[in-house]
């Protein structure tokens, strides 16, 4: 395939959430003056998702989390419309309203959706919820406002834990069923995950570890009244949230000849999508949760993350490259970072603990519930976590980016003795 030579006049962005809107803003920032069309399957204007599971469920402030838009954005929004099919040869997208749209450049930013409870009939019960979008949050908030006698949350990831935290803030009894030995273990590793286990229990959550829900029991109105565990044990609950992670919205790309997997759409270092033969498709880009991208910081390893910061930064690079010609392409790299708020704690992580075999607290202490911890893999610093210590994190961020020897920064002011310890098992 040849590289596009003419300057684009119509850029289509499929996915009107954080990445899509950030790309539109960035296109204007770099002086692109042509048409921008955003296609989104939800009816609302682009909105921010992190507050949904942290404050909207608690009823703090309002439920409107629409993202700021610059006054001179001059973009056309096609909302409530989804893309059904992509034809990269004809530069054409087929939409759910029966229309088609052509592009000079395309940004794929369709993100993810909540993984549903696997039993479809049970998932359809009126008191079984998932949380991903704005409508989900309002639906669940209404369910919680009915003061359920017990909320059962299935899944020990960030969303599950944040919902459990909101439920406790609302004074609700909550059971959190986690399949693994610790909550948040995949993201945080065993030491921090064990710390969070204690925090979660101290906040009054009935945390059940190594627990799998087999099925639900419903009443005559098909409302769930209890969950039956694999062990046969029964947990009464009149509100169930399936927090089972996310699935990438790639179905509309089937048949487009692109390198698509459950981890998303494979892109090159310039955010350009690759074909099934790993050739660059020069006028199609991807950014955000849907992009499966090579990270120079991690030695070219392909990463697939569901992070706010990555969605913004990657969209900006993709936008620059969409507007630029072949000669003006810039490479994308980004140190993964995210935050969570739960049980009154601010948890931030930079880098990827995957593969880490050591962990050390380098500021504060677990006992004080204020600390910075760093993760080492084969003697290098690969990630850092902060619990209520955000001001210290930038220094460690630099150490992670450099892959500094582990542990980094020794003998600093206010620093306790650093005693690295092996992680119970390497972070998967």
């Amino acid at each position: 395939m040849t590289a596009p030579t003419e300057a684009p006049r119509q850029i289509v962005i499929v996915g009107a959430s954080l990445a899509g809107l950030s790309a539109a803003h960035a296109l204007r920032d770099v002086g692109y003056g042509g048409r921008i069309i955003l296609i989104g399957d939800e009816h609302e204007s682009p909105y921010d998702r992190p507050p949904l599971s942290k404050q909207v469920l608690r009823g703090l402030y309002g439920a409107d989390t629409s993202l700021p838009q610059r006054a001179d954005l001059d973009a056309t929004f096609r909302l409530g419309v989804s893309a059904l099919e992509l034809d990269t040869l004809a530069h054409r997208i087929y939409l759910s309203d029966g229309t088609q749209i052509v592009y000079d450049r395309l940004l794929i930013a369709t993100g993810t959706r909540a993984r549903p409870w696997p039993n479809g009939a049970e998932a359809a019960s009126s008191n079984v919820y998932t949380l991903r979008g704005h409508a989900d949050a309002e639906h669940l908030a209404r369910g919680l406002a009915w003061k359920p006698r017990r909320v059962l949350i299935i899944g020990g990831g960030f969303i599950g834990c944040e919902i459990a935290s909101c439920c406790r803030d609302l004074g609700l009894d909550v059971t959190l069923a986690v399949r693994g030995a610790l909550p948040l273990a995949h993201a945080l590793g065993s030491v921090t995950a064990a710390f969070m286990r204690d925090v979660i229990r101290d906040c009054g959550v009935d945390l059940r570890l190594e627990t799998e829900v087999a099925r639900f029991q419903a009443d005559a109105d098909s409302r769930v009244v209890a969950a039956i565990l694999r062990t046969g044990q029964r947990i009464e609950a009149d509100c169930v949230v399936a927090a089972l992670g996310a699935l990438r919205n790639t179905e509309w790309l089937a048949g487009a000849g692109l390198a698509v997997s459950p981890k998303g759409v494979r892109v090159d270092a310039h955010c350009r999508v690759l074909s099934t033969t790993r050739a660059v498709v020069p006028d199609v880009f991807a950014a955000g949760d849907i992009a499966h991208w090579p990270s120079a910081i991690y030695g070219g390893r392909h990463l697939a993350v569901e992070h706010w910061g990555n969605a913004v930064a990657q969209a900006e690079t993709a936008a620059r490259n969409m507007a630029a010609g072949e000669a003006g392409l810039v490479s994308y790299d980004h140190l993964p970072d995210f935050w969570s708020q739960q049980f009154g704690l601010n948890i931030k992580l930079v880098g990827l603990p995957a593969g880490a075999d050591q962990f050390a607290v380098v500021q504060g202490s677990l006992r004080d519930r204020r600390f910075i911890g760093v993760y080492g893999a084969q003697g290098r610093t690969v990630a850092a976590v902060s619990v209520d210590s955000a001001r210290w994190l930038p220094a460690y961020r630099a150490a992670v980016t450099e892959g500094a020897p582990f542990p980094p920064i020794v003998g600093a002011l206010d620093q306790a003795d650093i005693r690295p310890r092996p992680l119970a098992q390497a972070v998967p």
Binding site: P51, Q55, Y61, W339, R391
Partner: protein, 75 residues
């Protein structure tokens, strides 16, 4: 108005809370919660919060179209 805070950047200096106490708050020591859609009447406070943030984590826009500033040559 529409407000978004980049909480990767936020370091809980809490200056926004002093500037606009009805629209920003800490949950615990460091977890910032905030009004994502404050009323237009709060514009001055919100803009003070944007300016006061030492790490420039807050973005806010008005829902009321702002007249474009005149170009120097038009005067």
């Amino acid at each position: 108005m529409k407000v978004v805070v980049d909480l990767n950047r936020c370091q809980a200096y809490a200056q926004c809370i002093y500037a606009a106490p009805d629209h920003f708050a800490l949950h615990g020591a460091e977890a910032l919660v905030y009004d994502t859609a404050p009323d237009e009447a709060a514009r001055a406070e919100i803009e003070r919060a944007v300016q006061a943030c030492p790490v420039r984590a807050i973005t806010a826009t008005s829902d009321v179209p702002v007249p474009m500033p005149q170009k120097a040559g038009d005067r």
